[in-house]
Structure formats: structure tokens, C-alpha cells
Symmetry: C2
Subunit: 302 residues, 2 copies
Amino acid sequence: LASKVSISVVLPTVSRVALCGGTHGNELSGVYLVRERLKRKVEEEEHISVVTVMSNPRAVQQCRRYTETDLNRCFTHATLSGPVTDKTPYEIVRSQELNTLLGPKGSPEAMDLVCDLHNTTANMGLCLIAYSDCDWISLHIYRYLQARENNHHRDSSFWMHFLIRVELPIEIGPQAHGVVRSNILSTMQEGVQQMLEWVRLFNSGTPFEGGKVDVYTMVKNVDYPRDFETRGITAAIHPQLQDRDFCLLRPNDPVFQTFSGETLKYTGTEPLYPFFINECAYYEKGIALSLARQRSVFKSGD
Amino acid sequence: LASKVSISVVLPTVSRVALCGGTHGNELSGVYLVRERLKRKVEEEEHISVVTVMSNPRAVQQCRRYTETDLNRCFTHATLSGPVTDKTPYEIVRSQELNTLLGPKGSPEAMDLVCDLHNTTANMGLCLIAYSDCDWISLHIYRYLQARENNHHRDSSFWMHFLIRVELPIEIGPQAHGVVRSNILSTMQEGVQQMLEWVRLFNSGTPFEGGKVDVYTMVKNVDYPRDFETRGITAAIHPQLQDRDFCLLRPNDPVFQTFSGETLKYTGTEPLYPFFINECAYYEKGIALSLARQRSVFKSGD
């Protein structure tokens, strides 16, 4: 018989926070949040040092995801330590600059918390993404934001999720790329304020209670059906699945509707949770949606 | 005293119809509708000759609005008759090719009806746009589609409008550029089928009753508030205006919310109808929304 074990985790102070927007130049909530902070020269939020960064200014200027290669895929040790020549893509050069500014990755000088602000065309609400379910800081922040959200917006149709995937920290949608929507920007602004508030409370020794957190762990990506020869897509997300991110997808549920009108169903045997449904930027990556398993993590208090 | 005068308009047969998609390469409903027709080699729809065209294949391949210049702004007599050199932007060369294929503009060989399929990120539903309120064919088609829509989708939240502006014929939204949504694609497919159905009935001599049609006539464009020096935008569409295309905007109604949280109100004295609210591609054109006057046109029967 398993017995419940209480784990005590010692976490260091979060003294250096980086706030990044425009990692993808056409995801405008982060772009305008960061631009506004830079304009008002906000460098300190009640004793936390916050470094505000426009990650990919060249892509922001062109209002494109990236100019030569996806910046968000450049933060590997190989790319960060590779040689730079005249022909090196701009984003690789920029990733090395950012690594110097915010890292170096894995060093003791690195930022304690990097909050990277993204938008998605998927109906994902506010979604925090972490590397693992042992990322206690992110789990605590998530719980804090969730509690605040429940208190303040009981009637709101806006919801939050916590997702484990190797990449990105905060996604918010639905918002078309290249567009800024006030409500989405306000929600992101509030989320960032609450995150910084949590960091302040945490640093000042405020105890946070432990408890259950539902997390989603990425299982796999699903591509669009494609034409064998041209590789062009031959179907769109089915209307019954569109916008239903984080709603359980069961075997035989509709997934795609082909351009000739046929319905294609989910052939998996395990019910899973879809997310990033119909994200614009993932057409080129061969991802129509991703699937996750949900489970509960019992997070200890501090 | 004005007396009601019945006008009889003689309209020639609509024997040559062109169906264009991908005029903007990232507006995917038209792209996939056209691609599917080309794949199935649909060239004749019950005795109407329909020329199906992918307007800007290079922009479609890159999933961008355009590669060098906006194709939709190239169809002026000056551009269409200008010289072509090695340095001429691709879209200008392509506009001349299209003019040869579908026109020449103003000539007796020109298509009788060019249906150009577009998407918008604005919540405009299905919107037919015509050059003037004397465009009887478009007004008839609009009435026909509207009647069909009322019969078939009484519960649908989808709605239609008829807009007079110098440009484009069919817009449908909201849909993020670079994304295809099944429901939007299906609505466009149905709209196109009904338009062709109307053409068939019209050509075979079916009489259509006259009556009142509400049309919107463009009055002016409104730009975002901008930073005097950088020209960057300093506000987004106000949450109370976002998605309320074709809902009356009255003096003192909120229009923008600045990034620092201030509300900016409509300072005009005439209530007007907003449309193209927060259209992605119009940020670069300096258009946050357009304003129209609504009025009724009494369309005669044939």
C-alpha cells in the first residue's frame, strides 16, 4: 500500500525576472505589452528587477513570425554555441545575443524566471507552459493566477490551463496573428502583474499552500491529411472540434472535414485532450493539433 | 410631391463568370475553394462557363498577403497599361496577366461577373461588396443569397451585408489569415453555389421580384491613434467595439482603448456603421475601422 509522502522543496529567491515579447513578431499582445513597458521605462516592480525584452525586433518591424528562421527553435545548446558568419540567419545571431543578456543558459548568472509572451489562433485561453511537472515555481504561479481568476472573473468565459511541453511559457488566444485585441492584451497584462505579485510575495517569505493541480502532458502531434504528391492539406479541422481546445477527444469523434465534405474521425483508442487546434503558424510545421493526457499533480506547500 | 417611378433595367445574360481565390495569399477560404475546383477540373456548372483562377499563386505558396505589392491595388488602368521590366514587382506583372485572361477591363470580351473571394479578421459575416448601388446584378445576387440564408439557417448566427465601396466583391470573416476554418469555408462554398444558381436562373429568363435592399455606403476610414514620432499605434480597438461590425456607432461611444488603459470615444456627430473593425492587413494601410452610412435601395424587378 502506498502512503502519502509530504515532500519539502527548497526554492531559491526569484530575484531576476525577464519579460519577453515579440519572440514571434506577429503575436501582438506581447509586442505591445513590452513596448508599453519599455516606453514607460518600467525596470523595477516593487523590489523585483524585471528585464523587459523585445526578443525579435526585426520580425516585429515586419509583423512576421520570423525573418529567416524561427527564433523560438534556436535556444538549443548547439545553436547557442555555434559559429557566426555573415550568412548566419538573423534569428540565430539574435538568440546568442539574448543568451548573453538573459543567461547564459544553465549558468548561475541566468535569469531566475523567463516569461515569454505568445499568442495563438487556437482557443486556448491563458495557458502556462512548463518544461516539467517538477517546475514548482511555474506550478505555484499557475495556482496563484487561477485563484485570482476565479475570484475576479466568475462570469468570464476565459479559462486557464497548465501544459507540460518542451517549449514556451505563456500562450493566450484566440487572436489572429498581426492583430491586437484589447481583451486579450488586458488579460495578458493582468496575468503578468499577478505573476510579478506572486514573485514579490514568494521572495518576502509568504507561505503558499500545496494542493492538487491538473496538468496536461503533451502526448503527440497530429498533422493534416495531405495530398500524396503535392503535400498540400486536403482537409480542415472539423467544425465540431474547432475551438474546443482542452475538451476531451474520444475515439470516433470527428477530427477533420475534407475539402470535398467527408468527415475523418479520431482513430486512437485512448481519449486525449486536444490543444493548439488550428494554430496558424503550425501549418508549416505539419501540426493540425496536439494531444495531451491530463493528470493531477499533488504540489507540496513551501 | 415625389411620385414613385418604376424603372425597368435591361440586363444582358451573364454568360462568363470568373471565380478568383488567393488574390491575397493568406486568405485561405478562397485558396482552398479554388484549389478544390481546379483539382476536380470543374469548368462548367450546368451551362455557365466558369473560369476558376488562383490569382496570386506565388503569395499563396508563401502564405502571405502579397510578395511585393498588394495585387488588389494593381487593377487601375495606369498599372494595367504600364511598361514591364525585369524590376517590375511580381504582382504588377500578374495583374496584367489576369487582365488578359479575364478582361481586358472594360472590353466586350471581359468576364460578365468576377467573383473575388476574400477573408477578413473582422466579424463581418458574409459581405458582398459592389462598386455602386446601380450594380443590379450584385444586388439581385445579394437578395437571392439573403433569402436562401433566411430559409436554411434561421438559427444561424451568421449574417450578410451589402456594402458599397470601390473594391473587392466577397468578404467573409472572422477568420485569422493563414488559417482555414471549416464553417467559414462551407459558408463561402454555399454562397458561391447560390450565386451560380442565381446566374443560371437569370440566364434562363426567370423573373426576380424587386424590392427594398439595405446597403451600406462607405463614408471614411479611421486610423489608430499613433505615436507622433515613431508612428507606432498607441491603442487597440475598444473591447465594446471589437466584433461589432455593422452595429451602429453613436457619438461618444468608445472606439479605442489606449495601451495605458484610457478610453477614446467617437467624436463624430453622425451615427455611422463601422465595418472592417481590426482587420489585420489594414494596420499597414492606416485603417483601424471604416465607417458607412446605411440606406435602402428600391430595386426594381426585371
